[in-house]
Symmetry: C2
Subunit: 282 residues, 2 copies
Amino acid sequence: MTEYDDAIRLETGDDPARRTGTFSEDWMIGNAVNGGFVMATGLSALGQHLATDPAEQTPHSDPVVMSAYFMTAAAPGPFTVTTDIMRCGRMLSTGQISLSQVGPGGAPVERMRAIASFGNLEHVDTLKQSTPPDLPPPEQCVSAEQAPPEFLANMRFLERLDLRLDPATAGWALGKPSMQGAIRGWLRVKDREPDTTLLMMALDALPPVAFDLGILGWTPTLEFTGHIRRRPAPGWLRVSLSSENVGGGMMEEDASIWDSTGALVAQSRQLCGVRLASGRNG
Amino acid sequence: MTEYDDAIRLETGDDPARRTGTFSEDWMIGNAVNGGFVMATGLSALGQHLATDPAEQTPHSDPVVMSAYFMTAAAPGPFTVTTDIMRCGRMLSTGQISLSQVGPGGAPVERMRAIASFGNLEHVDTLKQSTPPDLPPPEQCVSAEQAPPEFLANMRFLERLDLRLDPATAGWALGKPSMQGAIRGWLRVKDREPDTTLLMMALDALPPVAFDLGILGWTPTLEFTGHIRRRPAPGWLRVSLSSENVGGGMMEEDASIWDSTGALVAQSRQLCGVRLASGRNG
């Protein structure tokens, strides 16, 4: 079992709507478990619930769309996911996800609530798609391994990935952001080929696009919506981030992912808070 | 009271989490109540619930983000909205919305489930924003009133709006779509200046961008997420739609809105089903 598959593993008992697991410190970024990994975990719970639901007549094994709202930062340790199936349709099955952890006072504290739909992306025709970005080959890109060790100490999530940034959009790491609001690069999860659930994590795996605008403080995700459009081919993913609008203490971050064949496989938009001090969503 | 304010009016009783209202045929598009109007109605219910909640210490009167999942098409007639406040924070307050109508068998049928956050957009600084599109003046654009009467008969929602499309992106109405995947135009709601709740409806008020790709069948909204970034100035809104990726029976529709001062006030991305026959989400 790969590190990712082991980390995302869920236990289930008598209640088909309830699953439990444990977040590892290995998937932390800064002081919290990576939000993309939290989303993939919640999505996995809904997928497992759907797979066992008698109303689910068409197998819908691929996440197609997820909207997640983050209320408090997830910490290493045990968590519970409850899921609620809203509708099983011909094309999509839709449900709700709530992921919580026991807070300091012993009461459950909700980390993330989400709605998501599953479908079947086995055979996908393409009528029109955006062009993947031109990137230098991975070996000519900037690897996270080249970052200072004191930076990486706080970013254990990055050790799970092989991430190679286009040098044209990595100037912020040397104090020279391009100010274009763009970060692009190659991405793989170590020892694991991508699938549609992993893509939801990959949409939120790069450094925040805010860095390329000279905004180096924390930009917590307030809301994240990802669309998975196709099962990815094995190999490197190309990820492109951009942001057009920054103001009022908020910014959007748009992400697109193409697989190794050049097919657009996923896209997302998230609303982030923009601030310099730490603390999450008020 | 304007037509819009009358239509979106909600009644409330002893239960602070439950509101009722009636959808009018005036807000229908095709065989359903306009999805944007359904969203604005649900959002309005959550805003009213938050305004009366004792945990809400900072007034958060502006919707900031909403993710809506449409399960069945809303019909004219009575509806119920239930809301659940998830978290009242310093910057944002977040809750869930479920809008339902009584189905043919007498049981409630959920039309839309959504999560949304409210904040305060009274004073918004702008660090970076996308440029509004260049449009010919409204009087040189194509008005919905120029459409054939038999087309308008099924589109009563359009009578509530003053919509003027850029002739460069209105060729589809004459059977000549540009195939660029773009529709742009001016928008006002008749007799009503825009506010942040109305913007959520305005994000989904133009004809589907699919028309400009020669896709004239129904493109039901499966999921819609809108970000409201600033309170709009009075006057015309400029709305721009685009789509880059069509395949696997789905497409995304991105929308941006600028107010009469040229400020970016809202943006959205929705995932639509692409099909030729009618019927909603399986």
